[in-house]
């Protein structure tokens, strides 16, 4: 590879670039961070299958040059569960958004975490529904504005990384798009973790969240995000009211537990011997 070629575009469907994301959208950054994390984890890109739901974040697999499944709203994790169970050798990565996985797909999220199935979920949390035009999402901060909250959001937002950790995931972390080194390392750890890995990336949406909340430029949004970020180790020593409106970053779960597809295989192997055939649909005789 020549040194003047971009390091990320060889992994992408070049005929589809530039992508549809707005100027300054964090999704492109997260694509880069994922590819870096994947390189650092020494994964085989050809063996990666990407699954996504609906939303801005879920368009990412469409730009990646690997097998990708762009599914229905909120259901990405159920498709990924089937894909991983049917072929355990695949490395399945799920790209999802806050509306996709916390709102319509909330049930699938907690159940996938409970099963501890070996998926790497990258949840791109921009605090708003971008693709439909700026409605508030379950992670919109209290008091923020959206087209469906013209007088300010009154609901308490979800803390996704904590929620997933509580539901039984073996790896759960939250970072923002500006802590790049941490994010890359976290994605690497998530990919290597043999269990359910959840990485929430808080990102900027200058087009909708920014416009509704007086942060029109990407740099203004990123600056506010940077100023509001607190590491978990410091946050643990702070009072709850001081943490209001802050983004707590860090790792919320890192442990080892039996994995879902391994369990299925173990029972089948111990009792009846190894009879699993990969790509069994293509066999004439089973």
């Amino acid at each position: 590879m020549s040194s003047d070629e971009n390091k990320f575009t060889p992994y992408m469907r070049k005929d589809r670039l530039p992508h549809i994301f707005c100027p300054g959208c964090g999704n492109g950054t997260i694509m880069n961070a994922f590819l870096k994390g994947m390189e650092k984890a020494e994964m085989d890109f050809d063996n990666i299958a990407m699954v996504s739901g609906i939303g801005c974040s879920s368009r990412i697999p469409g730009y990646m040059n690997c097998d990708s499944l762009h599914t229905t709203h909120g259901r990405a994790l159920s498709f990924a569960t089937g894909l991983k169970t049917a072929n355990k050798s695949l490395d399945v990565v799920v790209f999802t958004g806050d509306g996709d996985c916390a709102s319509i797909g909330g049930n699938h999220l907690i159940h996938a975490a409970r099963r501890n199935i070996n998926l790497t979920v990258i949840c791109i949390n921009n605090n708003i529904y971008g693709m439909t035009g700026g409605q508030i999402s379950p992670t919109s901060p209290k008091g923020s504005f959206g087209t469906t909250a013209p007088y300010g959001n009154q609901d308490t937002p979800f803390n996704l990384a904590e929620l997933v950790a509580a539901a039984g995931a073996t790896y759960s972390a939250r970072w923002t798009t500006i802590q790049i080194e941490n994010l890359v390392t976290s994605i690497k750890d998530g990919l290597k973790n043999p269990g359910f890995s959840f990485i929430e990336v808080v990102t900027q949406c200058p087009t909708y969240y920014g416009r509704k909340n007086k942060l029109r430029t990407p740099t203004a949004m990123v600056a506010i995000m940077k100023a509001n970020t607190i590491f978990k180790s410091s946050a643990d020593r702070m009072r709850e009211r001081d943490l209001e409106g802050k983004i707590v970053v860090g790792e919320f779960a890192k442990k080892q537990k039996a994995e879902f597809t391994e369990n299925i295989e173990r029972i089948s192997e111990e009792k009846f011997g190894n009879k699993t055939v990969i790509n069994s649909a293509y066999e004439t005789e089973l």
Binding site: R13, D67, G82, L83, A281, Y282, E283
Partner: protein, 376 residues
């Protein structure tokens, strides 16, 4: 050589799925289809397959679509309320051309209805349940043997046409115990792996035959989406022509092959004045009614729809060309009745025996209808 079993309909369905090569089942418990899941939970690990009890029906059908792209024949089983939840992802399976099999053991409805009683109220749900235009394939068994056979046939049709296939059974067939005969040589159609990695187009129009379907992880790097897409699978949502080509092709795939898909069974229709059309459990009453009526010298025949969808228009038109009266016997307040009405000419009188409440139309009810019409 062949083997004989005395088993329940739902168990026969599970047996058929295993025989057809199904190695992945995702489902959610729902009466009266649960025995399919229970049997497969017991049997799939024995053959190296996977059984997953999902969190709901939406996730179940999502998981089997994922499983199918993972290179495994996949199935789910449910009943009316579950089928309602599945509809969005069934539409996804149509547009993404994913072969899956959905078994619906129908129960009294709408809503929770009569969980332990039979009905045929989901026929139109299978036809029009998801949004948009599509042509489903549905098979309707009327005996335990047929439940076994049709499950295998459903897998074959799904692979042949790369489309979801419904098996529309009902509680009577699902919970009935009968003898079935399992032959040794049953035709199983395997999936085809494409050969040319460089020029392969996953969503290309193939006039005669099947566009081969790759599995994920084989290096084809395909993009599967529910958005309107071109032959490569890349979204192209603003071009009216792309959308028209795609949806038209998905419909034509089934409609142009009706002669291969559609199947009816009939008896003594050639000279019949009155023909009974039915599918599923009510066929059993129709057969009895015809044999009684014939013994009384009345010219009565029956047509049994093996495939309610696509609706076997030509077959029905041909078989009933001499009949003056048609009786449609079904366990709903008239669903296929209107299809028959649509297909046949105006001078044919069409009568409905629509029985709901959980019991099927009896031979006596059909016979009294025949007498009422005045068959001779």
């Amino acid at each position: 050589m062949s083997q004989e079993f005395f088993i329940q309909g739902n168990e026969a369905c599970a047996k058929g799925a295993l025989r057809a090569g199904c190695r992945f089942f995702a489902g959610y418990p729902i009466t009266p289809s649960t025995e399919v899941a229970e049997t497969l939970a017991r049997e799939l690990p024995k053959v190296g397959g996977s059984f997953v009890q999902m969190e709901d029906e939406i996730a179940s059908v999502g998981a089997i679509i994922g499983g199918s792209w993972g290179g495994t024949k996949s199935m789910t089983a449910t009943s009316g309320p579950g089928l309602s939840l599945m509809q969005e992802n069934i539409g996804y399976a149509f547009i993404s051309e994913t072969p899956i099999v959905i078994v619906d053991v129908q129960r009294g409805s709408p809503s929770t209805g009569q969980p332990t009683m039979a009905a045929q109220g989901d026929m139109m749900q299978a036809r029009w349940g998801s949004h948009g235009d599509y042509e489903p394939i549905a098979l309707s068994p009327s005996s335990v043997q047929e439940f076994f056979d049709f499950t295998i046939k459903a897998f074959n049709l799904a692979e042949q046409f790369r489309t979801p296939v419904f098996v529309m059974a009902d509680e009577i067939i699902g919970h009935m115990r009968e003898k079935i005969v399992v032959e040794d040589d049953i035709e199983i159609i395997p999936r085809q792996m494409p050969e040319d990695k460089d020029n392969y187009l996953p969503f290309k129009n193939v006039e005669n035959g099947t566009n081969p379907m790759p599995a994920f992880g084989e290096g084809f790097n395909i993009h599967v989406t529910g958005l309107t897409h071109d032959e490569r699978g890349y979204p192209d949502t603003n071009d009216p022509e792309t959308h028209n080509d795609l949806v038209q092709r998905l419909c034509d795939k089934v409609l142009n092959n009706c002669d291969k898909i559609c199947s009816v069974k009939s008896k003594s229709c050639e000279d019949a004045d009155i023909i009974i059309i039915s599918y599923g459990a009510p066929v059993r009453s129709a057969i009895e009614a015809v044999s009684v009526a014939r013994s009384e010298g009345k010219k009565v025949g029956y047509i049994k729809l093996d495939t309610p969808w696509p609706f076997p228009e030509e077959e029905i038109k041909n078989l009933s060309s001499n009949a003056s009266d048609i009786i449609v016997a079904e366990m709903n307040l008239g669903q296929m009745y209107y299809e028959v009405d649509r297909v046949l000419p105006n001078d044919v009188n069409i009568h409905l025996i629509g029985k709901i409440g959980g019991l099927m139309p009896t031979p006596d009810e059909i016979l009294s209808k025949i007498n009422e019409i005045g068959g001779n």
